[in-house]
Symmetry: C2
Subunit: 483 residues, 2 copies
Amino acid sequence: MSPEEFRRHGKQVIDWIADYLAGIESYPVMSQVKPGEIRRALPPEPPEHGEPFEDVLADLDRVLLPGITHWQHPGFFAYYPSNASGPAILGDLLSSGLGVQGMLWVTSPACTELETVVVDWLAGLLGLPDHFRTDARGGGVIQDSASSACLVALLAALHRAGGGRFATHGADRPYTLYVSSQTHSSLEKAARITGLGSARVRVVDVDPRTLAMDPGHLRALLDQDVAAGAVPAMVCATVGTTSTAAIDPVAALGEICRERGIWLHVDAAYAGVAAICPEFRWVNDGVADHADSYSTNPHKWLLTNFDCTVLWTADRAPLLGALSILPEFLINAATSSGSVIDYRDWQVSLGRRFRALKLWSVIRWYGAEGLRAHIRKGVGLAQDLASWIAADPGFEVHEPHPLGLVCFRPRWPGLTGAAADQATTRLMELLNAGGELYMTHTRIDGRVVLRMAIGGVATERRHVEQAWERIRREHAALSAPGH
Amino acid sequence: MSPEEFRRHGKQVIDWIADYLAGIESYPVMSQVKPGEIRRALPPEPPEHGEPFEDVLADLDRVLLPGITHWQHPGFFAYYPSNASGPAILGDLLSSGLGVQGMLWVTSPACTELETVVVDWLAGLLGLPDHFRTDARGGGVIQDSASSACLVALLAALHRAGGGRFATHGADRPYTLYVSSQTHSSLEKAARITGLGSARVRVVDVDPRTLAMDPGHLRALLDQDVAAGAVPAMVCATVGTTSTAAIDPVAALGEICRERGIWLHVDAAYAGVAAICPEFRWVNDGVADHADSYSTNPHKWLLTNFDCTVLWTADRAPLLGALSILPEFLINAATSSGSVIDYRDWQVSLGRRFRALKLWSVIRWYGAEGLRAHIRKGVGLAQDLASWIAADPGFEVHEPHPLGLVCFRPRWPGLTGAAADQATTRLMELLNAGGELYMTHTRIDGRVVLRMAIGGVATERRHVEQAWERIRREHAALSAPGH
């Protein structure tokens, strides 16, 4: 494709996306296709001869769109938001167009140095401590996902816990990892990947009301494990759990970690970015004094399209110790001088995209005030929704809900336990099949609970109002006698 | 940014990229900036108020471009090519614009099903065995990089070697991994990440001429290790090593693996895609009969921008066994039915982009014949270059060089050993500082050798001719008496 063909087709694609975003409310939020339907509509063999780009776009409309669940739809309330704003998409497009590899500083110095600048910017915007900055002993890096950030943090923790032994001798000591029942599953996955095995993941109790990790139980488990010969490597505290946005007591957990020299990672994938607003900065209480590493996802709630997780560490040495390997083909004068960062040593993969461009583009387009306004909009709408639910005798809302996620349960007169859960699931499936909104569920204390996560770019008050009206209406219909 | 603002700025970005690609030869291939130069030119604090998108583009030109090493420049011969063709960029743009998460089938069925279709297409195009297809026991998946593909393959191998024990009990047995001195460093990194530790990476000898792994030595090492109590988990054979594009004898290595029930992974990151041409299909000899897993990078030589590695496995069960975890918040009817693929279970991270769009777009735009023509162009130019070098008494060329990479060494009359290596390095640095071309080095038998990898989208005969002329001229100048 020549540059001129690219210019022509590129503008077609831009128009396609602009039209898509402008008309996104015309689609059902959640795809309604059956398994195999999309695949069967595609040819089983690739074309021998090249095809016009218009055919690709036509098949996107005809074949693929029915199989898309529209994460950018204003009625998307499932999981957590995964924002793709205009400047993010364009920053990502520039990254694709430049097509540079950022594995080493020398393979594109701007790719590395812009990343250093924007992760330092973001640390400042979130009020994270100065020792997370690159000019101190720490530093930030963009990872593809929170899963990878937690994996990399665990590797650094194991490196430190083993006195550097992990890189050479691996998991030859009984290293243990501490999570709660509410911690993201990627931590258990990281324990499996790093050769600890799921049996070395120790599950700390949570407060039954807030679902936050119980420091007293952490202390008891550590005592017990150490007495049995374990080598505690890392505690993972969560700021905004995946299930209910619960916030672990980082300061109290951090005290325990500090006493015993255990690495504290703070997984703030969802909620960390809320700290861009001074009134929500409390979510990170304890981080400055206690976190060895910290990660949050601009690709969830901060207008930057996937993939963009930022991981900071208070001391980059264990991270580099865990992950640096320098084969001959990567040796170069800049690396040898010790005066540059090679971010390949901060991640699992060697290769890396120029992801800083999209975060840079987002921060510049919105400015700090625009980013704050976006977070405040989501929190405000969620608080309104929670108040409507709390005021309705047909529902009960889970407390607390300080940010953009509201968990709630319909009441089903006459139904208890599994029967009530089935009714709740049925309500959710009916609502999702309706196409106006998409929500997912979790369980609290064993009971099925509905989740509405508010924070989409396009989500306005009317969308939340409509969703709530629809939920009430369907619930009333399902609750009607004789239904 | 509203859809209409996106439309306007999007077209600016498309024009910027089209102009960039049309004028790419006006830039020095390798960035000439000094460490810190880009960073110092950027503001230390983020903007409080949003800025016009035009300012972002202006700073891209003014501040960032001098710090870009232009991987799409026709004079880029360093490392391996990292192609970003027009249709790939546009496929990626569509992915960013749709902004869907493909972690589960249900979170966007088309994202999963298109991926299944294109990896099956590519298996067919490369002549890979039918048991790699999704409808058989195997299946393919797009990973971000070959590093991740090898890591995931190792996890599957460990799962099988431990009879499923690895996921629960981790690296509690003396598992070993077999590579050669030429194997990519990501394998050692994978051994570190999986808790084996680098001490459990066993290095098999290579044939001193071809640099291919020696099956006899593999057998001897395995005998010795097993006698010492080791549990061999995986052998990694390489099709096209990073250093010299050496090709390990997959069939002979595979026989040994089969006898002993050891997982054979074939890392064909660079060279695997050459098999799209029937005349180069021999690179994969032995794969059909012996490989438990196989990976190659469309993001290197097959016109698809980073990140796009495809990993296939002959049996997906150990992969899923190693990586599946199903927390409550991901439970959904489609997954429970067992009738869909959830690709999150095939990779490290939970989240995933819609990367299939770019590979689909590339295959449709070029068609099989266009992809073959691209590979043939690179090989043809490399063979011409190798013949020119071989005919010049001032140089010696490393044999064999069947694909797009040519390794060669200038002769330095009167200099031997380290002195000759220094002269070679100096020649390379002078050439790279000239801006017309960019190449990197490796070592063969301890001696510094220059590498020219040909396969860029924009690279034509004249670029290779100019590069060779420049190399000869600088070499002659450095070799002149009294220099």
